[in-house]
């Protein structure tokens, strides 16, 4: 038991149990092989690691703080600690991965970064890295998402990126990924596809996780320093699952710590409008990986639904699928309504406006606190909510008539 568990943190791609792999068209295989080989070098190269650490410190602002949410804890009945990825430069955890991959891209001699984005956080982060590294940047974003995240579209353009609204399929995150892959096939010599989550073909799930691993490593130390013990549970929202893998990873071999991923249940877990890839999906292929995904009997990917563009994805990273099947992590649904209640609760109790994505994790913590009063809950506050103010304003009816038109 001990021996097997000591290996969980050492698991690497391409396979996480029966999940992961590389299911990509042949024209991209050379680029993927090249990327995997380059990343293997980077992992072992102290110079690369030092440069990444320096950027994380001097540009992102790592380590991020751990904030004890005292008033929220009183309301919830458990001790809630927030890992403040919202305080990173660009406002979410996404910058960790983007800086790491930009370094890899530069080493590969690529001069152009392309990315998909849902909420716009990853697109903004990629556009930021492109500006910092002097690279060209194109961001693919579902047309539905460009409408609900108009401010982030403007941010990306300010940073010099070209934003391409994707009008195919369901016009959301998964279709933005398809469009990004098409661009990559056509421009693979100059271009690095900067995947924004722990999904896609190997080496992306492993590489993106590694670039986010500091979240959990810092939080584990900070929690012990603050409380003298490990937390009882670690909670994070899961769309593709990058912030969750980042914070879970340090605790994988601490069997006493529950790891809980919160999936977006949209209209509710009992409805057909949700993004519950693990709970309601079945193993299959999407975007180059084998994982749990929402699909019909013919193997067509189903559309997901969530108020949060960043969680609106019908698949999930393969390492989560593996941790679920192992029973090491649990995945629970949080509906739009529960997430928005938690969004308001945190905002009013602590003066911290979370991203709606992160509000799903807060909601999970509030629920767990009711079940396990007095426990210590470490929550990944993966992003800040500035981008969601319009959505929240509409949800809570806070907008004046004029602003509703805007």
């Amino acid at each position: 038991m001990t021996e097997r568990q000591s290996k969980l943190r050492e698991q690497h791609g391409p396979w996480f149990g029966e999940f992961g792999g590389v299911f990509m068209p042949e024209p991209l295989m050379a680029a993927i092989d090249e990327l995997a080989a380059c990343y293997d070098e980077c992992k072992r190269d102290p110079e690369f690691q030092a440069e990444f650490a320096a950027l994380s410190r001097g540009y992102t602002g790592r380590p991020s703080m751990l904030t004890e949410a005292k008033r929220l804890s009183e309301i919830a009945g458990a001790r809630i600690l927030l890992k403040r990825e919202d305080l990173n430069h660009t406002g979410s955890h996404k910058i960790n991965n983007v800086l790491g991959q930009a370094l890899v891209a530069r080493r590969l001699g690529k001069t152009r970064l392309i990315a998909e984005t849902g909420a716009g956080q990853h697109g903004v982060a990629t556009a930021t890295a492109a500006a910092l590294f002097g690279m060209e940047c194109v961001v693919y974003m579902g047309e539905v998402d460009t409408e609900r995240q108009a401010l982030n579209v403007a941010r990306m353009r300010l940073l010099g990126a070209q934003v391409v609204p994707v009008k195919t399929g369901s016009r959301t995150l998964k279709d933005a990924i398809n469009e990004g892959l098409r661009d990559w096939v056509a421009n693979v010599e100059s271009t690095h596809y900067l995947m924004g989550t722990v999904a896609g073909p190997h080496p992306f799930p492993e590489m993106v996780r590694d670039f986010h691993r500091a979240i959990g490593e810092e939080a584990r130390e900070q929690t012990i320093a603050l409380t003298g013990a490990l937390p009882d549970a670690v909670l994070a929202c899961v769309g593709g699952g990058s912030n969750a893998m980042g914070i879970f990873h340090a605790f994988l071999d601490d069997p006493g710590v529950r790891l809980i991923g919160l999936e977006a249940a949209g209209d509710g877990a009992s409805t057909e409008r949700h993004a519950l890839s693990i709970e309601r999906g079945a193993p299959g292929l999407l975007h180059g990986m084998r994982t749990y995904l929402l699909q019909d009997d013919d193997g067509q990917t189903l559309e997901s639904h969530s108020i949060s563009a960043g969680l609106d994805y019908p698949g999930v990273g393969p390492e989560h699928a593996w941790l679920h099947d192992l029973g090491r992590a649990e995945y629970q649904p949080v509906s739009d309504a529960e997430a928005m209640d938690a969004f308001l609760a945190l905002t009013r109790a602590e003066g911290i406006i979370p991203a709606i994505e992160s509000a799903h994790a807060i909601a999970g913590a509030m629920r767990l606190a009711a079940e396990s009063p007095g426990s210590t809950l470490l929550v990944s506050l993966s992003g800040r909510g500035d981008k969601d103010v319009a959505t929240a304003g509409r949800w809570f009816g806070l907008l004046d008539e004029e602003a509703k038109q805007a």
Partner: protein, 273 residues
């Protein structure tokens, strides 16, 4: 109806094959069957039926728009088997299926292969299944006597080309350019180099590989150019556009015109020695 294998059909043309792609069910099931039969009658050596799929990362805009329309009206995989049966009842050319892998996986690899063979289908072209992930499919193809066609790209390493040649039966799908499907005005020079590399690799291992070039071919002139260095030309987007704009008569006329490009130089009208 007894039918030739894909490789035999290509050889029967003197290695000057024309393969036409059309999506199943576009614009509706009956018309897609008529269109497939029409292009076979007009001179296609084999038919490639595409399965509409929700996440077609290798398809360009023309095919994406067509297959999305089919999905939007509620396409079911059953239509594929129905179409193959109807088409193979009326023409003897091999009918291949081009499909992304998840629909096959979901249906069950062996069950899919069994039904494909029972319907008269010749085999599968698998854009997102590479040989290293294909063990289950290769075993099923063997059991049911189906062709399996893998892709080779200009960027493929020699080792990857060897794997594609080894795993393929029927032909090797030679990707003409580093891009998604869609008619291009100028088929990439890379296609010729790749086709020659495949022939060399096959010869080095004492074998032979038929090479059909796809992606970006839309005119009889391009078909003729490709056949200088390959055994077949695959046309997709141009046929889909013709079907969309002018129905079955238009797609039949385009296929007949493309077939002119397959004629050996001496057979061509007005050819000079």
């Amino acid at each position: 109806m007894s039918r030739m294998s894909t490789a035999d059909a290509i050889r029967a043309t003197g290695e000057r094959a024309l393969i036409g792609y059309l999506p199943v069910g576009f614009p509706d099931l009956a018309t897609s069957i008529e269109a497939a039969v029409a292009i076979a009658e007009a001179g296609c050596t084999a038919i490639e039926l595409g399965v509409p799929y929700s996440d077609p990362a290798m398809d360009g805009p023309v095919i994406q728009t067509a297959t999305q329309a089919v999905l939007d009206r509620g396409f079911r995989l059953e239509e594929l088997f129905e179409a193959i049966e109807a088409i193979t009842a009326r023409t003897s050319v091999p009918v291949l299926v081009m499909t992304y892998w998840n629909p096959v996986l979901r249906h069950g690899v062996d069950r899919f292969a069994e039904r494909l063979a029972a319907a008269g289908g010749a085999g599968l072209i698998t854009p997102d299944l590479t040989p290293e992930n294909a063990a289950e499919w290769l075993a099923a193809a063997e059991r049911h006597g189906l062709d399996r066609i893998f892709l080779a790209a200009p960027s493929s390493s020699d080792a990857r080309l060897d794997a594609a040649i080894e795993a393929s039966r029927g032909f090797v799908y030679t990707v003409s350019t580093m891009g998604t499907t869609g008619a291009r005005t100028d088929v990439d020079r890379a296609a010729r180099a790749l086709s020659e590399r495949i022939a060399e690799r096959a010869a080095a291992t004492g074998g032979e590989a038929l090479r059909c070039v796809g992606l970006g071919i839309s005119t009889p002139e391009q078909v003729r150019d490709v056949l200088e260095y390959a055994d077949g030309a695959i046309v997709g987007s141009a046929l889909v556009r013709a079907l969309d704009e002018g129905g079955v008569p238009a797609v039949r006329a385009l296929a007949a015109s493309l077939a002119e490009g397959t004629l050996a130089p001496t057979e061509r009208k007005g050819a000079t020695a």
